[in-house]
């Protein structure tokens, strides 16, 4: 490749990274600006007051706790359902597999608006038909959980399915021949092989749930999650408390990323230790 084109491609990659990161820096910067409007211009001096105001915002804290509960529930359900689906898909073939797999994948593409409305309609209709006020059949965050699971489970399924490709089914045969019970085969042979994918799936599900707005908006009833709360704040009177929240969330993300990178490099060094090629 010619030198000029190589330089240009490096330049483009740098610009792309700046494009991705700069908005987050601008948003974080605004959290420290002593100005009533969230912006970095004009700069009116450093302050930490938006962080203390954020901590004093009870509604935001409640929304934050709600979000964590919803995300944990979604991660748990998605992992169970997604793993079971991957195991099933891996052991069937032909027309049925194509159809079931297609249905599973299509859930990722269904607009969140449709998922939200349809979930809300089904459960409230069942509730009306049974003439009950049982909480399951009324709007609330539990319906948000069910709605979110309906497409996030597909993401977990894809991750686990990819991991299953590298699984040696002979290990299960050997265990069965040696007298292991079915439950033992599942618990001691198959699941340990899948743990990395299940862990990754849980992380993806957790973060996807925190992000979700569309499904939650139509099913939440009166309850807030962080995304819904931030949205309502952006539309009504905004103060830089939202930016303070963003700083904390971005910091957590970056911290997790750095930890992950350190672990990866250490593993790479360990792998590189014995001369292979």
């Amino acid at each position: 490749m010619h030198r000029i084109r190589l330089t240009l491609s490096h330049l483009y990659a740098t610009l792309f990274l700046i494009y991705l990161i700069a908005p987050l820096l601008v948003m974080s910067g605004a959290a420290f600006n002593d100005s009533k409007l969230p912006s970095i211009v004009p700069w009116k001096g450093w302050t930490l007051r938006w962080f203390s105001e954020m901590a004093a915002d009870d509604r935001m804290m409640l929304a934050f706790v709600n979000t964590l509960w919803v995300a944990a529930a979604v991660a748990l359900l998605s992992v169970i359902v997604g793993t079971a689906s991957a195991i099933l898909i891996n052991s069937i073939s032909g027309r049925v597999r194509t159809m079931v797999y297609g249905l599973m994948i299509s859930t990722i593409l269904i607009p969140g608006v449709v998922i939200g409305i349809s979930t809300m309609l089904l459960w409230t209709k069942v509730g009306n038909a049974l003439d009950t006020d049982f909480f399951l059949f009324r709007a609330g965050l539990h319906l948000s959980v069910l709605g979110q699971v309906s497409y996030i489970a597909a993401m977990v399924m894809l991750l686990v399915l990819a991991r299953l490709q590298s699984f040696d089914a002979g290990l299960e045969e050997a265990a069965l021949d040696l007298g292991a019970s079915h439950a033992q085969v599942m618990r001691r042979i198959l699941l340990p092989h899948l743990y990395p994918a299940i862990g990754a799936g849980a992380a993806v599900a957790f973060f996807q749930s925190i992000e979700n707005y569309n499904v939650t908006q139509f099913t939440r009833g009166g309850a807030d999650t962080l995304t819904v709360y931030v949205f309502s704040k952006v539309r009504s009177g905004i103060t830089p408390t939202i930016n303070a929240l963003a700083v904390i969330m971005i910091s957590v993300t970056i911290l997790a990323a750095i930890l992950y990178e350190i672990r990866r490099r250490r593993q790479e060094r360990l792998m590189a230790a014995p001369p292979e090629d």
Partner: protein, 307 residues
């Protein structure tokens, strides 16, 4: 299936099947059938539900055609129902977003797959992942700050002398498109990156040795190879954009309206769930048809996408 029973026993197999059934039937298929059924029912007070007035009709769907507005593209003036116009604009701007996402993501995907040192790719990926983990609402909010009339972008451009007076960025659909691109560009980047990575570098070198100009290498070798990745990226970005509610609500101007916002108004403001269902079904159905047509036009199969 027999294989499953032999390995894990009838009990565990039954549990696995039940879990899949719970997901696909209870969480996906039945709710969507309910949505479809409700979309034909009228909006009635609670006491009249199930009464003589509660009959199926197409009224909810016909509401799309009420309320005419005048539009004059390219000098031709004609009347068009306001919700139909909203729908077309949503589709049109989603296509624009998809195309721009491809233009921005393709060089980067090629860079990561073929130009960058393989040892630096994981770090690059990690850097790119950071914005993806930050929630969508905050990303849209970040652009709301940047694009504000007295915001940093105008200040920067004024300081550089590129513009003489501050530009109003949040007009029409401009800010919505900018926000959607930023939010969804990574959904284009990753599939294209995966597809380009699987291309044998020898093919590119052979073409170079034979004297092909760089654009021809991309057009004839890299792009055809990356087509499935481009297709799945495009389907993702298009469906996410057309179905987005957050970004158009935060970055929309007074003159922009996204179809999902119309659905949200029927559902949460007018509390007419049945009409909202009809509109939601229209969105789902027509977007699926549009994607299917586009795939047929570009000769992409569904199995290419699910790879």
């Amino acid at each position: 299936m027999q294989d499953l029973i032999r390995r894990y026993g009838a009990g565990l197999t039954a549990i696995i099947c039940l879990l899949v059934f719970f997901w696909l039937a209870i969480l996906v298929v039945v709710p969507n059938i309910t949505l479809f059924e409700s979309s034909f029912r009228p909006y009635l007070p609670v006491t009249e539900i199930g009464g003589p007035k509660d009959v199926y009709s197409l009224d909810n769907y016909l509401k799309v055609f009420s309320g005419q507005v005048e539009v004059s593209p390219l000098g031709f003036t004609f009347l068009i129902p306001v919700h139909v116009l909203t729908f077309f604009l949503t589709i049109w701007y989603s296509v624009v977003v998809t195309f721009l996402c491809f233009l921005i993501a393709y060089p980067m995907a090629y860079y990561m797959a073929k130009v960058a040192k393989p040892s630096s790719v994981p770090t690059l990926l990690l850097l790119i992942f950071v914005p993806l983990w930050v929630s969508e609402v905050l990303r849209a909010f970040a652009w709301w700050i940047i694009l504000a009339f007295k915001g940093p972008l105008n200040s920067l451009l004024l300081a550089l002398g590129l513009i003489d007076a501050p530009v109003r960025w949040i007009t029409g659909y401009d800010a919505v498109v900018i926000g959607l691109i930023y939010t969804y560009v990574l959904f284009m980047l990753f599939p294209v990156y995966n597809a380009v990575s699987s291309l044998d570098t020898n093919q590119i070198e052979a073409a170079e040795d034979l004297g092909a100009p760089w654009w021809k290498i991309h057009w004839r070798i890299v792009l055809p190879h990356a087509k499935p990745g481009v297709a799945s990226g495009s389907v993702m970005v298009f469906m996410l954009s057309a179905g987005s509610l957050l970004v158009p609500s935060i970055l929309g101007s007074t003159t922009s309206q996204w179809f999902t916002q119309t659905i949200n108004q029927w559902f949460n403001d007018a509390l007419d769930w049945n009409t909202a269902s009809a509109y939601a079904f229209i969105l789902l159905f027509l977007c699926t048809v549009f994607v299917a047509l586009a795939m047929w036009a570009f000769k992409v199969k569904l199995s290419d996408i699910a790879k």
